[in-house]
Amino acid sequence: MQMLALRSDQMIKAEQKPIEEILTYLDPYKKILLSGCGACVTVCHAGGEKEVSLLASSLKMARNLTGKPLEIQEITPARQCEPEFAEEIVEIVEKTEGVEAVLSLSCGIGVQTLARFLTKTPVIPGVNTVFMGETVSHGVWEERCQACGNCLLERTGGVCPIARCSKQLLNGPCGGSSKGKCEIRQETDCAWQLIYDRLKSLGQLDKLREVIPAKNWGTESRDKGPRRIVREDLKI
């Protein structure tokens, strides 16, 4: 079942859950709908059509070996995080006989959007949404943004100390920065070294003299609950 694709966001990086874990969640069911997603999880090879068919085959074989066969209907809609797409999947669930649960390979957002509309059928996540990140090289992704709510990249030469500094320091490296690497994890580049190098090449080292005040984690980040953006001008 192919829904039309949109040029989609690709920033979310996810990883398939260990199959043992998925099998535990699916234990009570005999027939499920396995829904991939054509957006972010396709791009990081965690939940696109290819992964859907691979997972379906693996799950079927695993369940056959335990003597409790599992019937799987496979779909890969373009996205799951828009209400209209979620409603399409609801239609499919209602039309298909006997679907007891939906295993969704979309990110946490997609799972929740689907769950909002699919009130009578459990929606089970098949991937772990890990981070918002960049492609370092093909097949290698790294965390770059923590959605802190108040981007300070202008002051740090385009390198984020919140996402990339292990201690989330806002004003310069700690004493453990050594040869450009982090003392917490040696493979990690010291974010403040990167910031220094970048500001230097931009001729903006002066910015390091400006003290970045402590973040208001309460209003800017999610520490006081899930955040919301409202655009009055866009409301239909």
Binding site: L6, G48, F85
Partner: protein, 441 residues
């Protein structure tokens, strides 16, 4: 649903070739192609043609001969109506694929022009470096190209180096380069001239004598018979100055017992080393522009026997001569002839029939993950703007969107992209789907 992948399955080919590099290979290829009536644009980044040919006795045992061979071709080049020669110019960009190449050349004046060749030949050669590391500075060191020039310029009189007569010469192989047979061949030829014509004492030091080239063994035997003395070494010899002569010291490897090996010292008027052969430092940039694969050590193309001699990973792009790997002049010539022949055959029909197997992207499913353009070994996939009816029914805005696209003329039908696409958006047109059906669904 419009068939966005519907493109002509046969593409027209003009008899138009771009040759990058005006050394031996480039000149030879251009010469042959032009004589078949194919138009060649030869682009050379330096002001003069000839590349490194001036440095070496390339075509025979007689120094100076190489000039005649090449100058003949160069004369034809400038006279031929089928050749456009642009010196002091460089390739700065290349778009498109086989059948639709768009090459951007920047001339010396700064002006850029666009060319539309049907085939491109990379013949950019290599560079040399004179490395005197470890040798005391004394005026007793020369390189192979210096010796070439000396032999060419010296007539019947005796050989003079820095005003002094040259009686003993030592060559050291295998220190500057690994496995460059051109060094060995040049040293053999120069040693023979030094022995036979000028009666010099000649020593040749080597780690392993690499004679696996045409006449290699014969030249070696001639050199031995003429009295050239060969010494084998393992660790780098010691160099020092004794008076105004250079001294090379090494253990006598003929004695198998290391402790009992005596030290051999060779005193000579001149030490001659090969120049170090290095890939052109701009090779990497050129690889990127041309979307070619980089080989080991910064040269063009992998070390894959399927691609030996002239083939590159891209259809319509050829790699010829020393830029792939420095080789003997005779081999370079053969390779250039082979390249010219293959290009002539490719362009002769005036058209290229794509297929039988060609990959096709279903733009609807493409998530623009960039897996296939990165992966395709033939650089046949790009991200393009598709045009078509507005097929969005929810959030559509406009009728153009970006998706991966396989250029049929550049596709080799291997199916690697088909198998790797995370959205399973690519299919292999022309493949017998039935046999794979059982395993694909």
């Amino acid at each position: 649903m419009p068939d966005l992948n519907k493109v002509a399955q046969s593409i027209p080919l003009k008899r138009e070739v771009l040759v990058l590099g005006g050394g031996v290979s480039g000149i030879t290829i251009a010469d042959i192609l032009a004589r078949s009536g194919i138009h060649v644009t030869l682009v050379e980044k330096r002001k003069n043609l000839g590349g490194l040919s001036k440095q070496f006795c390339l075509f025979s045992n007689r120094p100076g001969d190489s000039d005649n061979r090449i100058s003949g071709k160069m004369a034809r080049l400038s006279e031929s109506p089928h050749i456009t020669l642009i010196t002091g110019a460089e390739l700065v960009g290349m778009e498109g694929h086989f059948g639709s190449f768009q090459a951007k050349i920047r001339k010396e004046s700064g002006e850029t022009i666009l060319l539309f060749p049907s085939a491109v030949v990379v013949a950019t050669g290599y560079i040399t470096r004179r490395d005197a590391k470890g040798i005391p500075d004394s005026g007793c060191l020369a390189f192979l190209s210096d010796m070439e020039r000396l032999i060419a310029e010296t007539g019947e009189s005796g050989l003079l180096w820095n005003g002094k007569p040259l009686n003993t010469v030592t060559f050291v192989l295998d220190q500057a380069n690994d496995d460059i047979k051109l060094d060995t061949s040049t040293v053999f030829k120069q040693s023979l001239v030094l022995r036979q014509k000028y009666n010099c004492q000649v020593y040749v030091l080597c780690k392993d004598l690499k004679v696996s080239f045409t006449s290699g063994e014969r030249l070696y035997r001639k050199a031995r018979e003429a009295g050239v003395l060969f010494f084998k070494y393992e660790e780098t010899p010691e160099y020092s100055l004794v008076g105004d002569r250079i001294c090379v010291a090494l253990p006598d490897n003929t004695n198998l017992k290391k402790e009992e090996q005596e030290k051999i010292t060779l005193l000579s008027d001149l030490l001659v080393l090969p120049e170090v052969c290095l890939p052109d430092p701009e090779a990497e940039q050129l690889c990127r522009i041309l979307r070619l694969r980089m080989g080991k050590g910064g040269r063009f193309m992998d070390d894959n026997p399927q691609f030996l001699r002239i083939r590159s990973n891209r259809r319509g792009v050829f790699v010829a001569g020393a830029c792939r790997f420095p080789q003997l002049p005779a081999e370079t010539l053969k390779e250039a002839e082979a390249a010219a022949q293959e290009i002539t055959a490719l362009l002769a029909p005036g058209v290229y029939e794509c297929g039988p197997l060609v990959a096709e992207v279903n733009a609807d499913k493409c998530a623009l993950c960039y897996t296939c353009p990165r992966l395709c070994p033939h650089s046949a996939i790009g991200i393009e703007r598709y045009a078509g009816k507005n097929v969005y029914y929810v959030l559509g805005n406009g009728d153009r969107w970006n998706a991966a696209r396989v250029e049929p003329a550049a596709c080799y039908g291997c199916g690697i992209c088909v198998a790797e696409c995370p959205a399973r958006a690519i299919s292999l047109r022309g493949e017998d789907a039935l046999s794979l059906d059982a395993y694909a669904k």
